[in-house]
Symmetry: D2
């Protein structure tokens, strides 16, 4: 049976019908002129989404983890030192990937629920007079905790310390859903995937690479072939790929970008804020809090809801899946069992969000939590009703 | 842009993905053996859905109105007398169709919101000693008012009066969603379409025909060709159609029947009751009433909600469509402007229903009606939560 | 298993992917403003396809036979006299339909393989001084024999005889594939379906109606409701339908018209001629002839190939279906067993046609017919190669 | 415009409708129990396709090149020596990948058109008394030249030399189309992708790994994370993935395996042989030869056709694409301009193949090559006609 209810996991997101049919396409000859005509606008469109005029964009047939690997193996050499904070499952996993590639990671441990600590970064960078640190790694949106970090602040930390390290940013669950400004923030490598803000199935690792990063690439000795950024850029310049390209997903990405731009990036971000804010008000009406305690760091793509001490939050996810056939996200790592996550990114309307909020509510009542039916829904309704509508016109 | 929200009109219903892809099929040769292998199980399956063992089933490439026309032109002759009640837009239109085909319709006017009056029918039939009345017409579910009539009671009226008239029943918005018992109720012609309980797009007129009806057909002189039941049955018996068959929709109907039976007809009806009952409790929580005032006649496929006097109910429908991109049904005919309709039939889950209820709620508050946000949702949630889940497994 | 090979039946045709996905669409509210915005351009587009500026166009949820019934019941009254030729299965069936609707049909028997005899028509019309004949019926393209009649010549016959009869034309297997000029030829009712030149699944009866026909309609007393042209035109004028409209197929028809016009109607006709001419040259290279003996009447949508006397042509169709999984058309009626039919209309390229020709060739050799492998293919290749390519750009 | 003609490139292949709709699926929660239920049968099914009972199977969201990278980084350490032959573009690229990962590749240069030289391999291996060679690399099917190497012979070479090196085999364009016997041939790593014999879009790197390879993995120090086989096997054992899995393609692969097995692997191979043999006879009838000169090494998935000296073979590919909208493969590397390639693998019938052969024929005649129209087609028809039919029943 094919699911009838939307999913509320923090990615892969619900896929609009437009995109499902766009990638459901017969085989074309990827060595013919059709392919470059498809690829060119995608790479240009990605520049606009990432807000970079000088940075280069590229896609690999892989996932966000593959994009991380591309960043690390193309920009750095074994033994290089990098600076990163651990404040959620995904920043943790990025640190692990660096270590497997034999980088020397200086880890700042931060509470799960807090953003990357720009101030601590600044202190460490200022102290690194020898510029041993080659790169700073930031997870723009910690999908595990629903926390958005302040990339501009990290940039400022680098600038204040007058430090030449590269700035590598994981925007997997933020890009195309929340504002991202590659050039303005001086991001050297931006990383994302197809299955979040772009609303496609997984299968594309998407990267933005600054000029400074391209220079660093020359010196980097990390072994690479499948994820060789230089070779990919060279092939792309000739309208091709170094190996079989993921034609269908690239076709889908082309339409995804057209849809985002036809809605208007600004409106896309506003819609994500609206829907997220409704969910946050529902959480408050339930008498619960978010893992992301500070308002200004709360993510507009995922809300990690903290359940009362002693209650296993994962039960909500399992119960909702079994009884109501609705998927939420479980807590991961340090917050496993302590939070459940409501994903509200990508292809989502306020009406869809209300059905997720209503379901979470029923599940919590079923499991004995002191939540009043309709309370969260009413809080969200009141916000959705009063704020600008999410009416937007995608031109397929 | 392709709609993301479900529709809540009383048909055509939301179409499950399984059925959408089943009818999206390349052309086959309908004169090859593939077609009879497709058609046979469909006709047999329809017998099980209609609960008839002796009745014949058939489909025309048309709509429910076409099925009415088939019934009237195959069973009756110009000048024949028929008995019918007018208590909603669809019973009204059926009367009109009969008159265009030059039948003499004895109309019992009944309040819109009431079922077909079996008692009055009995009185009239008992008085018709000469058996001038050739057929009694019943609209099983008045889609305009959300009223389910008691077909068994009408059968009893015929039997009590010892009257030989045919019993013709419009089950367009009931069959495959609410219980229908062709043999037990002595229905001679049962009529429906593809776009309601069968969850397909419009395009099929579906009929069940009793043995008695087949006999009546011999005598009937109404001119017919496209809708000739005799010719269709003859062609079907040879595995064919008298003209180009609607292959794709027949393929879809085959899967629709398999899905309904894999869920279990009994469970399908129970699910429709559950979802409808949640909607009804929401209406009560809003302080509003249904057009169908008597509980036992309330439809499980559509609820016509009466709005306060002086308020134009159609505004809710227009407002919900514009602001929230959600479709409800307007009031028709005598109840235009007085009711708006929530369709809850076909491919629907309780979670989907909650999003419809939440939207209606917001629309009413937006328009100044004295409804409390979350009130209807909470009433529905409480019922959905406590009753059996709609978990079912369609085997595609 | 879903067929991999194209079909070569004379309709329903192969359906382009564009159209398959266009009709595979979620349910919309047909009472909302979305529907009139969809219907309007379709009705206007049909005028351009039929080449009428003053005629009205409409669609019913039915098939070509339904369109015939609409023409007959809306334009004529029981007892009216009509003139028609019988020269194939479809002209035969139209005569039958008229008789079922109690028309008095004057039948001109013509050889199967010949067009409608304009000269005989003229003689009869000239002799009908009282103008008892109310309508002349012409089958523009006899799908059973692959013969295209000369509608302009029939018009001339009417004009020469100064006869006011209506001209009713069945263009089911010609319209949108071969030139059709409703206004220039003075056609009063043009009839077609969705499943031929429009490349859609069956399910739409399409009509063009002249002003003169609209006048005749006023006087016609044939009973009608489902196929009531007047009521349909009235509903359409308000952006609606008298009953549930076939939304998905209407959506598909909108795109079909855009595709035909983006290729250019003239190019569509030229492509059909090219592909048909290749098939005809193949037939000649096989040493066989066509049922349509005169070149100028040979259809560009279907070729009925006459097999040697004593050989059952249907064996070719059955053998090709079983062994090669390719569908051709059998002979019907008087030419059953004498011809097999190659459909080459709708969504078809010369490359696809070659695979059909190659398959027919293998089937004939398998069955012992004195055909040389490759002979027909080579003749078609030579023509395709030398003539203008069918390169065309559909804008989906 | 969506292509109507099949492609004849040697992969990605034509995608059956069954598979297109199987991967066109709404998002599911990959952390729910649905995913392991999907993944398990896929991994087991891959064992049957690879014909291994003890080997482990796994998939990465990447392409065949990614599978090569996984093999090299998981099994070998920088500085390790490997033995490989260069006899086509793909064996060449594999050598290049090894060098980028700092392996010491002993390259045997072989003519393009010849298979991997098992005898030379044996000599070298026998001479390597110190067992410095850690792995032998074989390209089972050189897609660039249409040559199938004899993997069993290479195994025998290893055995004869009593050499413990690993046997790594690129089966990208052979597996699931031509017989592959992982256990019998003692293959340690088998590599393929989704877009060839499995008939899916690109996006999956598929591997089979022997027990001996798993042991070697422990010692290998190549840095890896995204392509870490050990971590993938561990996650898979728990029903998961180390990162976001390519759910849709895994779903598609499940059906692909069911389709292959419902046809019967033996029948799949026989069908590929039949279709290829028809193409080869066509080539001979054209008076041309194959790049693969020896019959027993000719590939059943792709035929590289050598054009007359002085003629640029790429013109055929460009001309066919432009004029006939049919895609063939160009020559690559050393044979660029000397051959054009006809891909005949995956979803292909003899009828489809004939349209490709007919098109190549027209293109060659158009370009002045001394080929007779119909000659190749007739040779292929004769073979298809006389041999067992490719009738097979996929159970979707």
């Amino acid at each position: 049976m094919i699911p009838q209810n939307p999913v509320f996991i923090p990615g892969p997101t619900n896929i609009p019908d437009e995109l499902r049919r766009e990638i459901d396409f017969p085989t074309i000859d990827h060595r013919s002129s059709v392919f470059p005509e498809m690829l060119g606008p995608v790479l240009k469109g990605l520049q606009r989404i990432l807000k970079t005029e000088i940075g280069r964009t590229l896609v690999f047939p892989a996932t966000g983890t593959g994009a991380w690997e591309a960043a690390v193996t193309n920009m750095l050499s074994p033994g290089d030192k990098v600076l990163a904070a651990r404040h959620g499952m995904f920043s943790h996993r990025w640190i692990d990937l660096c270590r497997r590639h034999r980088l020397d990671v200086e880890v700042v441990e931060e509470s799960w629920g807090k953003p990357a600590p720009a101030d601590q970064f600044e202190r460490i960078l200022a102290g690194d007079k020898a510029h041993a640190i080659r790169a700073v790694l930031v997870t723009h949106n910690e999908t595990a905790t629903g926390v958005r970090s302040d990339v501009a602040a990290v940039r400022k930390a680098l600038d204040s310390a007058n430090h030449p390290a590269l700035l590598l940013v994981d925007g997997v669950s933020s890009i195309a859903s929340m504002d991202f400004r590659m050039d303005e923030w001086g991001v050297d490598i931006a990383i994302t995937g197809s299955q979040k803000g772009f609303m496609l199935p997984p299968g594309l690792a998407i990267l933005g690479v600054s000029e400074k990063a391209l220079d660093a690439m020359e010196a980097a000795t990390g072994p690479r072939c499948f994820f060789d950024i230089g070779e990919m850029l060279k092939s792309n310049a000739n309208g091709g790929f170094p190996y079989t390209p993921p034609v269908n997903l690239i076709r889908g990405l082309a339409l995804s970008i057209r849809m985002l731009e036809s809605e208007g990036l600004h409106n896309v971000f506003a819609r994500h804020f609206r829907i997220a804010e409704g969910a946050r008000r529902a959480v408050r009406a339930w008498g619960l809090g978010l893992c992301a305690t500070e308002t200004r760091y709360q993510s507009d793509t995922v809300s990690a809801v903290v359940t009362p001490a002693g209650f296993d939050a994962t039960r909500i996810v399992n119960h909702a899946a079994e009884k109501y056939k609705v998927a939420f996200g479980v807590g991961l790592g340090d917050v496993a069992g302590k939070v459940f996550r409501i994903g509200h990114l990508g292809s989502m309307t306020d009406v869809m969000a209300l059905s997720g909020i209503a379901t979470a509510e029923m599940a919590m009542v079923d499991l004995g939590l002191p939540v009043r039916l309709g309370a969260g829904v009413a809080a969200a309704q009141e916000f959705y009703r009063a704020s600008e509508s999410d009416v937007h016109a995608w031109a397929a």
